[in-house]
Subunit: 315 residues, 2 copies
């Protein structure tokens, strides 16, 4: 790597680390304002929100850009991370994926019991709405658009729908057009929706034009599909010590990997990352910080795949 | 009963029945717009929303008054009933009250499984927010105030907090001042919060002044405490065939009835209903339709209590 490129990567790393520090502090601020909520719920919320890659908040920050109101961006980033955390708590429940490990630590229900886990998730969802609905200094309609993004991403056309289809399958009334259609829809609902929400919230706060927003949405969708395939590959090929969560939960599930095999999954993941990169360039955003973040996320997942290191190879 | 009083009661009954018919149609309208949500989730939502006393929606309608925008009132009433239904689905879960019967029919998890029940509840909550956030034709700030009411009532300072404290008790960090304080707080969170939300949403849509709103909030709080005591009495003294839900779920719980006995519980319920009536009169609202509705709800619950029929006796 040339010195200039190394410096650029270092700066991108520093910028991301700096944002995550500010975000973590702001998360603590919002969770400390939960009082007089029951102490056990506050503790469970702090525990669940205590770690994470903060991918969606940072995406929002990057898309919003430097001209956006930094406080509004940070608060909306906290709200998105709360929705993301709530969805993980719900996915991990005994009646769903029945996972005991997440981010290398016991899941919320494993530590606090199932009832408290469910209540914590619902509490986080409602606080996320409350934060977006209370953002000061926004233009008319912006606040409502941000609330709509959050209620949409968790609802019937988002995470809840994806989880239901993932767990209980498609019924006859849910029209499907074969395995690829089913897999793409579930991945769009379970993974793409929240990445798109991050990107769209960033576009609203950054005042981006409609044509940019449409390309950015495409970027979020492709990134979501790529992320899910990489996650499935990592799940299949590694152990809990490496991923920090229960592995091989997908056995028997209709995933891209299961239907099309590892080589094709890897090829598809690369193609999606390349398409996402194209959409980003088309929207006119500086791709550097995005590429750095995407590499940092995909590299560790795909390093466990024997064949390749596809995130860099995609360009 | 005099003929005039009987006519008045008949008119109040007709008005309430007419509102409930409109509400039921509007609920179906909103649930039919869930598509392309997974068919199983839509079916579970329709099943869970298919019946109910519609107490909170009608309260909202009465407080909003005839000058409010009828469509906005009806949509907000649907949103409130969705939040109420979601809270019942959650309360009934195996990890919480583990109830199999609700409104005389199998609970959502008993019929659709635990995972689908949890996802349906979260879907309903998010749709409620989405409905309030999308209400057309409101003045600046009204929409945000309605969203805030919904996210507040379900969150850390509302139903979620009440359920956590009810299930897992107060920890040392949750300051309490004895049994009466604990019981009053749980009842305020679990029952009063949603009645207050109905009353406050009605006050916002009806454009009521601040001093009226403060008295109306008092009315909602007292009604909530009275309702919970009457519900506990009915639960203790009757069977599932009469209440339509699992009975004697409260054994071992710290309720007003358990701590102070049936006679004192009945006296307290009467006193609270009288205080609620005073607050209503103070706010300048016509108490007739409210009294009719309150009698219709409390009479069947308290008729099962051997001692008295307190709703009428309270005045």
């Amino acid at each position: 790597m040339h010195r200039q490129a190394r410096n650029k990567a270092g700066l991108a790393s520093d910028a991301q680390a700096g944002f995550v520090r500010s975000l973590d502090a702001r998360i603590l601020h919002h969770l400390s304002h939960l009082s007089p909520a029951p102490a056990r719920l506050v503790e469970a919320a702090r525990d669940a929100m205590g770690s994470g890659k903060r991918l969606r908040p940072y995406l929002l920050h990057l898309v919003a850009g430097d001209d956006a109101d930094g406080c509004a961006v940070l608060d909306m980033a906290v709200a998105l991370e709360m929705v993301h955390t709530a969805s993980l708590i719900v996915d991990d429940l005994p009646s769903m994926d029945n996972a005991t490990l997440r981010r290398g630590r016991p899941t919320t229900h494993a530590r606090f019991g199932e009832a408290t886990a469910i209540l914590t998730a619902i509490g986080l969802l409602n606080q996320a709405i409350s934060i977006a609905n209370g953002l000061p200094g926004l233009a008319d309609g912006q606040r409502g658009a941000l609330v709509a993004i959050l209620s949409g991403v968790m609802g019937w056309q988002g995470l809840v729908a994806g989880q239901e289809l993932d767990l209980n399958g498609f019924s006859d009334a849910d029209q499907t057009d074969g395995a690829l259609d089913r897999i793409t829809r579930i991945n769009a609902l379970k993974t793409g929706a929240l990445l798109c929400a991050a990107v769209e919230a960033g576009a609203i706060l950054g005042g981006r034009a409609d044509e940019e927003r449409s390309l950015l949405r495409r970027f979020g969708e492709d990134l979501g599909q790529a992320f899910q395939i990489a996650d499935d590959l990592a799940d299949m090929l590694s152990d809990s010590a490496a991923t920090g969560k229960d592995c091989r939960q997908d056995i028997g599930k209709e995933t891209y990997l299961a239907v099309f095999g590892a080589d094709e999954a890897l090829r598809r993941c690369r193609a999606l990352l390349a398409a996402a990169d194209d959409a980003l360039l088309g929207a006119g955003l500086d791709p550097g910080p995005f590429r750095h973040m995407i590499d940092a996320i995909f590299q560790p997942m795909l390093d466990r795949v024997p064949q390749a290191r596809p995130a860099s190879a995609a360009r």
